[in-house]
């Protein structure tokens, strides 16, 4: 190599490095006018000690204290404790072999629940992660999304006792570094792509629509990122309609704007609508302009929800039902777990509802209730995610009691 060509290469490399640094700096700075700060107007929504978040017990709830007897269901259905002793149980994904992998938030664990002699065997598969709420399974591998850490564990079902450190995909997915509202929900779609939530990193603020408040999809290795939905405050549950294959997702509405809402949303992304805008932070629910971040025609061009799902109800997990156990009129309905309100004087939710979809609209009906007492304003459980099993029964995770309930139908 001649000196001349060497110096040219050095020059090119130096130029590349300068460009890379410039891009990195640009990526760190918010575009002008956008602020990461909460923009709630504190003059209109004052401090209120009745509106604080609820604790999640980090230790085991004894079996006899799990409130399964309080659960109310439509005639013919019954609930039982499927498994327990796994504090913080939230997201569930199941392998073809029937292993359930379960993510948590605060406790930082991922559990594996297997069947042995008709009983459940619970293992702490991973621990010490930062809110590993995102779990997905494909081709023998478990994908775990913690805040700012993505790991794939290959051939995981043969390594349940020592999963190892896995393949680090964090840099491939290159997700934003902010923590708030960035515990993940992830799921493989019918197109084989991995869909990933990126929440707004605030209660209410202007976000860079190219960075936060989205649903994205990636190839399984983290390449080929596309933004499929924008203006989504924080969805932590989605599924695809069994017939139309359209993406349906829950979205948690903003806080500190009163008990009435704006209500949480059930949304649908119609086919060919990739990249559509769902309103955050300017327009909420079925067309309510934000009281703090004002913009003319705030709701113009915004995809309106298929249905509202209640003020502060915190709809998390959603799954469509295609099983054969439940009556025929449950076929293709969506079950939605509502985690229950914190930023609301009268507690609301703490249940599982069904959504009967019709085109781009949906009707909400109660399903699993009995866990909130309106008179004493207290609750007994926090349903978080739902998972239909192969036998047609439905699992519901309860983060507060570290339990999974199994809902079955036995006829009239």
């Amino acid at each position: 190599m001649t000196t001349k060509s060497l110096s040219r290469k050095v020059l090119v490399l130096t130029g590349l490095a300068v460009i890379m640094v410039a891009v990195a700096v640009a990526a760190q700075q918010s575009p002008p006018g956008l602020s990461p700060l909460d923009r709630t107007n504190t003059a209109t929504s004052k401090q209120d000690t009745a509106l604080a978040p609820h604790p999640t017990p980090p230790t085991v709830t004894p079996r006899e204290r799990i409130p399964v007897d309080k659960i109310k269901l439509p005639t013919g259905f019954r609930a039982e404790v499927y498994s327990s002793g796994h504090p913080g149980a939230r997201t569930m994904t199941i392998s073809p072999r029937g292993t359930i992998f379960m993510g948590t938030r605060q406790l930082g664990r991922v559990y594996a629940v297997t069947n042995r002699d008709g009983k459940r065997d619970v293992k702490v598969l991973l621990q010490g992660l930062t809110q590993p709420n995102g779990v997905a399974f494909k081709d023998g591998a478990l994908y775990v999304f913690a805040i700012n850490k993505v790991t794939r564990y290959d051939d995981i079902e043969n390594k349940l006792d020592s999963p190892g450190s896995g393949v680090d995909l964090t840099d491939k997915f290159n997700l934003p570094s902010e923590i708030h509202h960035n515990w993940k929900y992830v799921e493989f779609g019918p197109d084989g792509k991995l869909y990933v939530q990126v929440g707004a990193n605030c209660n209410i603020c202007e976000v860079n629509p190219g960075t936060h408040g989205q649903i994205r999809r990636y190839n399984a290795d983290g390449s080929g990122m596309e933004i499929v939905a924008r203006g989504v405050r924080n969805t932590v549950g989605f599924d695809w309609h069994p017939v139309s294959k359209e993406l349906w997702f829950t979205d948690n509405g903003r806080d500190w704007a009163g008990d009435a809402g704006p209500e949480d949303e059930l949304n649908v992304l119609g086919s060919g609508q990739e990249g559509a805008f769902f309103g955050f932070p300017y327009c909420h629910a079925n067309g309510i302009p934000d009281p703090d971040i004002k913009k003319p025609n705030a709701c113009a061009g915004v995809n309106m929800p298929a249905s509202l799902i209640g003020p502060h109800s915190a709809g998390l997990g959603i799954k469509f039902y295609t099983g054969n156990m439940f009556p025929q009129n449950y076929r293709n309905v969506a079950f939605i777990a509502r985690h229950g309100s914190w930023n609301r004087t009268q507690k609301f939710g703490f249940d599982v509802v069904i959504a009967r979809t019709d085109g781009g609209k949906a009707r909400i009906e109660p399903f699993m209730t009995g866990l909130v007492d309106e008179k004493t304003n207290t609750f007994l459980a926090r349903p978080s995610y739902v998972l239909p099993l192969g036998d047609g029964s439905l699992l519901v995770s309860d983060e507060m009691n570290g339990a999974i309930y199994r809902i079955s139908y036995g006829g009239k």
Partner: protein, 218 residues
């Protein structure tokens, strides 16, 4: 204050146990010194190793649970659930703190419950740090706009998973808030990362001066 708690209460074992423990400790205080009495109650109720573990805690966190060591938090009067939760998170490696690792790695849930109960019942006392009146004033304004009292309660005594700030060490409060702001600690929830986002070191210092020295409304 009890009314406020009831308005937002969670009917779980932790909450009930917390209230039961509070009532027991209050009844036990009488005219005897709080520290002595509580310590005796714990060593009779628990096995010896737990008392030894508590002794280990007090080396850094203060013989009465009030720390005199820079950047090391006081534990006295923290909500029982908060102490329990944080010790579990440290044991699990979710909140890794190098000097704490040898002490938390073998803790059983029952040990953690006993330690949390012990320190929650001790009386919180102000540290030797001197709060600055101007900073306190600035901190009070910031705290109102950030709605600190909604979670930490008007007297900043904390509740459940939310820590006491009143009479905490100011240097520790600043250290802690920087961790939330700089995305190096997610906390029991991620809400604190949002609350302190974008605040300057001077803002955090003002918040610490106000929070640590707030007068109890009791």
């Amino acid at each position: 204050m009890d009314k406020m708690r009831d308005g937002n209460s969670v009917k779980n074992t932790e909450t009930q146990r917390h209230r039961g423990a509070q009532a027991r400790w209050r009844a036990a205080v009488g005219s005897v010194s709080l520290c002595l009495c509580v310590f005796n109650a714990v060593i009779t109720a628990q096995t010896k190793p737990v008392a030894e573990r508590i002794q280990q805690c007090t080396v850094c966190h203060g013989s009465d649970g009030n720390s005199r060591v820079k950047n090391t938090p006081s534990l006295a009067g923290q909500p029982e659930f908060f102490l329990l939760n944080q010790l579990v998170l440290m044991r699990e490696g979710v909140r890794p703190i190098e000097p704490m690792k040898p002490y938390v790695k073998d803790l059983q849930d029952s040990d953690i419950e006993a330690i949390a109960q012990y320190f929650a019942a001790l009386e919180p006392k102000p540290s030797e740090e001197i709060p600055d009146p101007a900073l306190m004033q600035r901190g009070a304004e910031l705290a109102a706009s950030l709605r600190c009292a909604s979670c930490h309660l008007p007297d900043f005594a904390g509740r459940q998973q939310i820590p006491r700030l009143a009479r905490q060490r100011m240097d520790y409060l600043i250290y802690s808030m920087k961790q939330f702001r700089d995305n190096t600690r997610s906390g029991a929830d991620t809400l604190m990362s949002n609350v302190v986002a974008g605040l300057s070191d001077a803002d955090l210092t003002a918040l610490a001066h106000y929070s640590a020295s707030i007068r109890s409304e009791k």
